[in-house]
């Protein structure tokens, strides 16, 4: 079966028989979600840990627009819709997990049947970068998955090496490639 390339900040759910691939992962975190009973899955290619900081800034700005526009021309609904669209930004670990969960649950998946694998979260320049965003991505994913009650069954994370990933959503098998 053909492949679907999942680029940075994208999440693909329920691709049928297509194999999901993503190559050259550094600090980004690839999250695969699989339901072994229904044999369906999803993959997200996330970049940054959490939307919380972004949301606080965005909602602050949006609220200012909202109150201004509501009081002037009454276009509050349009602004509220923009806020909602923005929260679908799957470059964030937490947003991507939410999107994948919704995608599988819409097909009848139950959380106890779901399992996750994590790949990536490296630091390609370990001696220079004080803020290890790869590590933060992994921690954020683990925290979010614990809160949502989803099991992590495998991980290939950290270090300072790039990785490529292949995921079969019908079998749940993840293949990780390193080059060295």
């Amino acid at each position: 079966m053909a492949d679907i390339e999942v680029h940075m900040a994208e999440a693909v759910t329920n691709p049928g028989d297509y194999v999901l691939v993503t190559s050259g992962i550094g600090s980004c975190l690839v999250i695969t979600l699989y339901d072994s009973k229904l044999q369906i899955g999803a993959l997200a290619h996330t970049m940054v840990p959490s939307s919380a900081k972004r949301d606080a800034q965005y909602h602050q700005r949006a609220s200012a627009h909202l109150s201004y526009e509501a009081s002037t021309i009454g276009h509050a609904c349009a602004v509220a819709e923009r806020v909602s669209t923005k929260t679908e930004d799957t470059k964030y670990v937490d947003v991507a997990i939410d999107k994948m969960l919704r995608g599988l649950e819409a097909k009848g998946s139950k959380r106890e049947d779901m399992e996750v694998k994590l790949i990536g979260g490296a630091n390609m320049f370990p001696s220079l970068m004080s803020n290890d965003i790869g590590k933060d991505n992994v921690l954020s994913a683990k925290e979010k998955l614990r809160a949502e009650g989803i099991r992590i069954v495998g991980e290939c994370v950290g270090g300072s090496q790039g990785r490529s990933v292949e995921f079969s959503p019908t079998t749940g098998v993840v293949t990780v490639k390193l080059k060295f």
Partner: protein
């Protein structure tokens, strides 16, 4: 009538001056004549950088953070074969010897990164009359996508564009290519390009 010099845009002047200085510094380092030319300078969305080179292709990446009046990153990329050729020249091995990079090669390649990035940033800072602080280079030899995405990720919240400069090195009889990427925070990036005549067309 406008002189030839006046017809050259400021961006070209920056590129030419940086290339000239890099040529002189690299020639001295390698002890052979090196001609550095900037063959292309363009602004791309950071999300569109990966097709430059295949995401799984092995490259040498030399990363230098940029601070001072502007906050950003500079990244010099050499495809694997170019990195091997440069290593032979830098550590004075017979051509075609390098098949794996040693710590000595990495150190030599970091020095090349220092020269290219340092010269470009100095010329740009002088032209724009801003203060730019250069930092020590850091090295990674891995998949292109993994190296570039780490730098993009550092700026995921702060920028949308990168200035990509294609560099050609000629060390007779060979010419080989590298890429120099500059990323700055959104407003600073607009201000930088906006103040360089000849760069208006590059603005997205």
């Amino acid at each position: 009538m406008e002189s030839e010099l006046q017809q050259v845009t400021r961006l070209e002047q920056i590129n030419n001056e940086a290339a000239e200085q890099a040529s002189a510094a690299l020639s001295k380092l390698i002890d052979r004549h090196v001609d550095v030319a900037i063959s292309k300078a363009e602004v791309k969305k950071v999300a569109e950088l990966s097709p430059l080179i295949g995401t799984e292709e092995m490259v040498a990446g030399i990363y230098l953070p940029v601070t001072g009046d502007i906050q950003g990153a500079s990244l010099l990329i050499f495809p694997k074969e170019t990195a091997f050729i440069l290593s032979d020249l830098l550590v004075k091995r017979p051509p075609g010897t390098t098949r794996k990079l040693t710590p000595l090669d990495e150190s030599a390649l970091k020095e090349v990164g220092n020269i290219i990035a340092g010269n470009y940033l100095t010329v740009m800072a002088n032209a724009l009359q801003i203060k730019v602080v250069e930092h020590t280079p850091n090295f990674s030899f891995d998949m292109f996508g993994a190296i570039v995405s780490q730098i993009i990720t550092q700026f995921a919240e702060k920028t949308e564009n990168a200035l990509i400069i294609e560099i050609e090195f000629t060390i007779n009889p060979e010419t080989f290519k590298g890429y120099f990427l500059l990323l700055f925070e959104v407003e600073q990036f607009k201000a930088i390009l906006g103040s360089i005549s000849g760069a208006e067309d590059l603005l997205c």
